[in-house]
Symmetry: C2
Subunit: 181 residues, 2 copies
């Protein structure tokens, strides 16, 4: 058996707040969610079709003029599926860092190459961290919205881990330079 399709839960979660088109869903995922979960048209559209067949969501045509526009709404069965998933013990947490892979095999090349690779990573993280801090400040001002408390927690996860990454970058560079020259 193949693993359960997780994109379904992302879609249900988003639809539990508002009716959306496939395109909207992609945009939402590309926003605040993207740092811990990704989506693509290639899995969003087939998932919408399947879930409609399963009765977890319902389709309604909101086309204007010649412009096609299919909005989806979550059904009661969909809400149930979402809550069951939220309560399920099993979770799949996965890190996939090419930077660490390169570092693992770093001894095949000159030390400077690995130091440079860490710097590339460091730059990426610094940029992403700035974005997360902007999100954080915005959310902090509207914690009366219950959803925002949860959003803030995921953003705070990002900030704390990215700060840990940056600390590691410094240690790692130092260690490479000290130990290997």
């Amino acid at each position: 058996m193949a693993k359960e399709r997780k994109i379904d839960m992302v879609i249900l979660g988003l639809l539990s707040h508002e009716d959306l088109t496939g395109y909207d869903i992609k945009k939402r995922i590309d926003g605040a969610i993207s740092f811990f979960w990704k989506g693509s048209f290639g899995n969003i559209y087939p998932a919408l079709k399947d879930m409609e067949t399963q009765g977890l969501i319902s389709k309604n045509d909101t086309s204007v003029g010649g412009r096609e526009r299919i909005t989806y709404k979550i059904t009661e069965a969909g809400e149930k599926a979402l809550n069951n998933w939220l309560k399920a013990e099993q979770v799949e947490n996965e890190l996939k860092y090419e930077t660490l892979l390169k570092l693992f095999f770093g001894a095949s090349e000159r030390t400077e190459v690995s130091v440079h690779n860490i710097e590339v990573f460091e730059k990426q993280i610094q940029d992403d961290l700035k974005m997360l801090k902007v999100y954080y400040e915005t959310l902090e001002k509207s914690l009366d919205n219950k959803d925002h408390v949860y959003y803030l927690l995921t953003v705070s996860f990002g900030i704390e881990t990215y700060e840990a990454y940056l600390k590691w970058c410094n240690k790692a560079k130092k260690m490479l330079i000290d130990n290997l020259k």
Copy 2:
């Protein structure tokens, strides 16, 4: 065009140290590498076949008795490909954490469900952290081996980020309990 197949580089990296069978490669990946990169028979064996055709690795039959055993060796072209990848700027770093996904949609359920989900995550991380610390202590004793310096850096990455996760777990649980009762 599809993205380049990364498993090729994992295989080349491993073969740059020793000759291995597909099964061996799987075992190596499941070990110290698995926390930042995964592999499966379903992509290892096809990759081995392709890379042999491309001349990046060479096959030699080391079967004993009726037991099939195909060992692969890296070629000069393979070493070149590995070093080119190590020097390439572009990297793909990706976090895929279902725990954060659940937390993001946490407002759909009772606060206790999210607190429990954080505790499940916390337990997982505590266990993994113990393993990483054992790796660390073992590696620390053999830093005369140049490779081990690099291995240690990846393990240290894991330790630092997992410790940051645990700190976040406490903060997050407290925030949920304070803000939402």
